[in-house]
């Protein structure tokens, strides 16, 4: 298995038997929600989609995996989503087959998806890697070397001697407490599973990694092994163990 990092996504290609392009948390339609919170901006869906299509062209994958929170509004579709979603999905579909792992924001998205595209919420293994959005407990069958999830929007603050010099989307990889997560480890010769938290594709979403770890808000953030957690920037630069960053924070 090989990986390729696309920092202008952020997006990831995981290549085994097949080349799979993975994108998480696009949150199309977020502008309607922003407006409800007093922030009035035009829809940036077209720009966001164009960015996605460019990556699809550059990566030339066999399939696109949308790792949940494709759309934004809960509990129902907004007028913005009603108008935009069919076109967005069609633009993707016309280039490449896609699979969608619905997230907590994806209520009502089924009506725009083909049966073959809609995947179970608690995940499935594709080409040896487990995928799900990550807001709920995974299927016990997902135990495997790697589980890729979205939902958390990790953001990393890189500091230098004087101040904070970078705030950027980043990947977080860590070991898992399989028992807590209810993963079935009795299958044949399994290595201990690791989870990879994908950064959000949506350009305005982001959540400090230390917050995710210290104030967990999902099964995965609760049951990761903190001491093994490692940070990778969106372009694939290896930052190293989170514990190094953290000890720096608290003295």
């Amino acid at each position: 298995m090989n990986l390729e990092f696309f920092s202008n996504g952020p997006a990831l290609v995981i290549e085994g038997e097949e080349r799979l392009l993975v994108v998480a948390d696009t949150h199309f339609g977020i502008e309607a929600d922003l407006a409800a919170h007093g922030l009035h901006f035009r829809s940036h869906s077209a720009d966001r989609l164009e960015r996605l299509l460019k990556i699809i062209d550059a990566a030339d994958p066999d399939m696109l995996i949308l790792l949940g929170d494709i759309k934004h509004s809960i509990p129902s579709l907004t007028r913005q989503e009603y108008y935009e979603m069919p076109g967005i999905l069609e633009a993707i579909r016309s280039r490449i087959p896609l699979k969608v792992f619905p997230g907590n924001h994806d209520i009502g998205i089924e009506r725009y998806l083909l049966d073959t595209e809609l995947q179970p919420r608690d995940g499935v293994i594709l080409d040896g890697v487990g995928y799900l959005h990550g807001h709920m407990y995974p299927s016990p069958q997902l135990a495997g070397p790697l589980i890729v999830i979205g939902h958390h929007h990790p953001l990393f603050l890189l500091k230098d001697e004087v101040g904070c010099s970078l705030q950027a989307p980043a990947y977080l990889r860590a070991g898992l407490d399989t028992k807590g997560l209810g993963l079935d480890m009795h299958q044949n010769n399994l290595s201990p599973p690791r989870v990879l938290f994908m950064p959000a594709f949506n350009e305005i979403a982001g959540y400090d990694i230390l917050q995710i770890i210290n104030n967990p808000f999902s099964p995965f953030s609760r049951f990761i092994k903190k001491e093994e957690a490692e940070i990778i920037l969106a372009d694939g630069t290896y930052i190293g163990p989170l514990s190094l960053q953290q000890s720096d924070e608290t003295d």
């Binding site: 940036h44 230098d160 101040g163 904070c164 970078l166 400090d208 163990p241």
Partner: protein, 898 residues
Amino acid sequence: MKPIEVLDPKVQACIKKRGFSVLSDAQKQAIPLILKGNHVFLIAPTGTGKTESAMFPVFNKLLSMPSGGGIKALYITPLRSLNRDILARMQWWCGELGLSVGVRHGDTPMGERRKQALSPPDLLITTPETFQALFMGKRLRKHLAQVRFVIIDEIHELAGSKRGAQLAVALERLHVYAGEFQRIGLSATVGNPEDIARFLCGARPFSVVSVPVAKQLDITVKFVGDNFQQQTEILSKALKRDGSTLVFVNTRVTAEALGHALYGRGDVEVHHGSLSKEVRIDAEERFKRGEIRTLICTSSMELGIDIGRVDHVIQFGSPREVARLVQRIGRAGHQLNTISRGTILATGFDDLLESLVIAKKAKSNEIEKVVPHRNAADVLANQIAAIAVEYGEIERAKIREILERTAVFTACGILLDDVCRQMEEHRLIRIDGSRIITTARARRYLAGNLSMIHDERKVPIFDMVSRRTVGSLDESFVVGWIHAGVVFITKGQLWRVIEIADGKLTVEPAKKAQGELPSWEGEQIPVPFSVAREAGKMRRTRDISKYTPEPDGIRFAEKFLSEMDKNRSLISTDLLITLENTDDGVVCNVCAGHKVNEALGRVLSILISARYGTTVGLELDAYRMLLRLPSSIRAADVRDLLLSLDPSHMPGILRLALKRTALFKWKLVQIAKKFGAIDPDADYEKISIQRLLEYFDNTVVQTEAYRELLSEYMDIDTAVLLIRKVKQGEISVALGPHSMIGAGGLLSSRDQIPPPTADQAVIATLKRRLDQEDVLLVCMNCRDWKSRTGVTRVPDHPQCPKCGARLIAALKPYEDELYAGIRKSKKTPSERAVEQRLLKNANIVLSSGKKAVIALSARGVGPENASRILATLTDGDAFYREIIKAERNFIQTHRYWS
């Protein structure tokens, strides 16, 4: 004919009844011009009957008009308290003359407003913001059609601000209903009367009447030491005399501190903007009645609110601007023809020299200019929204017509179109071909944005540890800069942000200065360039006695300077810039005032951050800048940068530098609010606002943030001139030891300039990680020695203590068992392969020493990758960049993932 006789006998009779025996100079000169119907701009000191100068002839004309039917005269002042004051005075005159008068502003009760809508007064006293609101109601708009006179009081307070630009547009909106009306501006002394008159009148002809103030000033500068206890004792003594005193201070904090220290006297009250209206009015009334003799106040008392007789004015600390000093001292001797007496109590070296310079400039009438905002895009957006609501829908050309009659939007050109397009994006208006149409949001927006004053929501700061609120921060600042994990400073203490939720900022105390952040403790009054230059010159010429006869001040200044000499410190002057190393970074002593230092400091910061890849912290005042730097960057490096600076590149560099600073984001949020993009009560907790702000890249919102910062907050043109002088050798640059001057000063502005890329921070993180790694050194010669140690402690060329060989392999600590395997005499094929690998490893260490050990401790770097890295023959950062590349490759392979 006596001057007074040009007035209507009824008005003359009133003047006599009021007990005015003679007209003041201001009145004598202004009355005939106003009677003639001229637009008049009147400059006169406080207490010379400015209001009456305008109102006597206006009364005159009102008497000849039919009564009722609409508002005939508008009297606009910048403050509600001033409105109340003017109303009290006008009620008497109007009562005598049979005219009706009313006041309308934020505090006016609903009943009163309704009455005004049904039967409008002849004279309406209001603020610029409530004037805006008058256009919103159908009935009130009709009353505005009768307006013949608009008087703007204390116009110098408005002309230089966005409030003023907004008012200028409102006057032209009024013109649409009322046609030409007579404009009268009343002002304290300004350096550029023509510009302000133009601001008032647009392209119309006008007359300027100016009654000088300077010869009536008697200013003393007294040095009171830099110890607060001593300062208050001297102040207390100064108050022990007959008559009443106003004590002006520059900040509310100082006002409170002095008030607290002098409270025991029982005849002192404090007056500033943070106190409630009732408390302030009570203090004013008691002062007027003579129950208290001293009022400690901030700029809240600068304007002409009538507080009765003031015998003396004390300015505590440097007034920072000439105009401010003149205005403040002008409050003393509130009767005609008396001399205004004032004392500045100087509180330190900078403060003393600055006060002396300002006092001298005040006496020679060198007052600063007030510069109106030209083409302020957010004011434009605000007024387009207001006009759209006012008309429902309107041709864009009609809006342009209104705007181009003002002096501040005469050439708004394409800006109008850009602003409209941006507003449409935020759904504040709709554009239909050439027409602008109001939206459902616009009226609500307008209700929350009548004012161009940024009415900042304060976000409380809650300390998790002590479970109490420790202060508050401006909302724009929180939105633009604060996120979880960040460290900032407020009230002199460091805090780390835990979360922003439920409208409050939860923090914990932080110890480390790392990540220290900008802070604003209110907006500071900037010291002008010319004042800072002359203070610098005084340091050079040391002719203190030319400025003051006061022995204490002269003695202190001379002693301070000779102390500097004794310490072999260099004294920065108008002709010498000095740089000093400190524990925190480098201090640049530049006597150039706040705005120039703001510009220069940021230019230097971005150059340093780009060259060394580090964040630079910046703090500054009028005489020095502290650049917070990593310990490896020293004063000599900063000097080299300063000397190699190309003045013509500076404006471009500054624009680059600005974009990523807290100051810029703070401004951007404020302007975005005026464009309707961000509601006053927006909830920004769920998203990264900083990345949201990137939506404004290359928009008119961003352009306006640049325009305002580059004109209001910093002065790049003068900074360029200064560096030209450095280039020409007129100003020299020297390195000196850390000095009393360098260590002094209140660093009033703080910001951070991040590096253009995070490259250096990534390298630093890598170095730190590798330094903390452990390594297992094993001897491949005798195969009988292994030692686990930290990478930092590995010698340049590791050697086996047992056999003396330098054939040492560097293994990861978990590779211990590999060494055990190859020590066996009988090896399996796989152990033999490992042996080959270890030998290869040891050979690399043999030839490249510690560098090889460092490379080998990187993630996923084995002997092959290590020799590839070492073969590049790179050193320093380039070497580490090669390691980053190797690690990035490793991360992409299945070895990392399985």
